[in-house]
């Protein structure tokens, strides 16, 4: 299949789970995703045992909600990121996060395969840009996106002055923004 060459592994697995309830694909996705999710959630401040519980919950949510994944609208990794943040917060706060209503298709835009490819390209460029960031910048951006933390809390935790934190986040985001037209 030609789509295997152009879609990321994650997208291919997720579509196989969505369309065919493919357990082997889900198992492969688990092997790739679960350790990254666990590392990610631990760096959000969760203890390893809780982190593993959240990983299991997130993976089960992916299996159950795969039908809602639409590659025209979001990259697989972005869709999974939001599930991971939502489940983590719901479990900790015991209060469901408010989730926006779905908006229908933009009347001007017919969904087509080129949209999926554009999102896939964007995801690839973003990953490359993140890997090229200065380690300081990457750490700060990670904390902003994975930590349940405000800039002030990041500053308290790292001992860096708030101005330094903000400028590192800004510099890092500036590098990423070039890769991502939607980021204002």
């Amino acid at each position: 299949m030609s789509k295997d060459k152009t879609y990321s592994e994650l997208t291919v697995w997720l579509l196989a789970v969505r369309d065919h309830r493919d357990r082997a694909a889900f198992g492969d996705m688990f092997d790739f995703l679960a350790p990254r999710l666990k590392g990610f959630i631990i760096r959000c401040g969760a203890r390893p045992a809780l982190a593993e519980e959240i990983v299991q919950d997130v993976m089960l949510t992916i299996w159950r909600k795969a039908a809602m994944f639409d590659p025209h609208k979001a990259q697989a990794s972005a869709w999974i990121y939001q599930i991971a943040r939502n489940r983590h917060i719901d479990i900790i706060r015991k209060e469901s996060r408010p989730v926006p209503d779905e908006l229908g298709e933009d009347p001007g835009a017919e969904p087509d395969a080129s949209q999926i490819l554009a999102l896939e390209q964007e995801a690839l460029h973003l990953k490359q840009a993140i890997q090229q960031l200065h380690p300081d910048q990457k750490e700060m951006i990670e904390k902003a996106y994975i930590g349940d933390l405000t800039h002030q809390e990041i500053s308290t935790q790292t001992g860096l002055p708030l101005g330094t934190v903000k400028s590192r986040i800004r510099l890092g985001l500036g590098r990423l923004r070039k890769e991502l037209k939607g980021l204002r």
Partner: protein, 211 residues
Amino acid sequence: MPAITHHIPDPMIAAYASGSLPHAYSMVVASHLSYCRDCQAALGAHQAVGGALLETSACAALTQDAKPKLMAQLDAPAAPEPVYDAAGIYPGPVMQSLKGRPLRWKTLGMGVKQDILFEDAAGSARLLYIPAGQAVPDHSHNGLELTLVLQGSFSDETGRFGVGDVEIGDEDLDHTPVADPGDPCICLAATDAPLRFKALMPRLLQPLFRI
């Protein structure tokens, strides 16, 4: 879809995506996103950054039985989750927070009514009902206030706010919103601190009405 002119600032959308925004504000952000394609696109961008960070995240090994335990759960029936969809003028996030209960409007005087939807140490969210032509009592803010219009419109010193528009008020904003002629104005408002009313009576009533 209404033409929206007052949006959520980008850093607040990032904080919503990452989950660092207090719950009361998240209700307003999610409600605004329910009207606004532009802000949904901005959310998508932040989710893409989050997703890329997740994919490049350092790994932590799982315990050995994690995978077989999970695979064994795949066929277990999921407990049905209640679904609260948008209804009438109220977007999904408002219905989610009502959890199926009917609205309980409490009179604040001069025809103004409120229904407190959520309250915790970090802030509160409420629905406000303001009859056409009526002013919300003159007030300024201790902290950050987000006000999203769900029906009708209001105007104040800074402009006009229609359905889907969100006004962001802070310590510096000393304003008098007045509901425009037409339908009563219904808003979703989130604050992190009690509003300070200038008139004496409303201030005395503040503890009573928790506004």
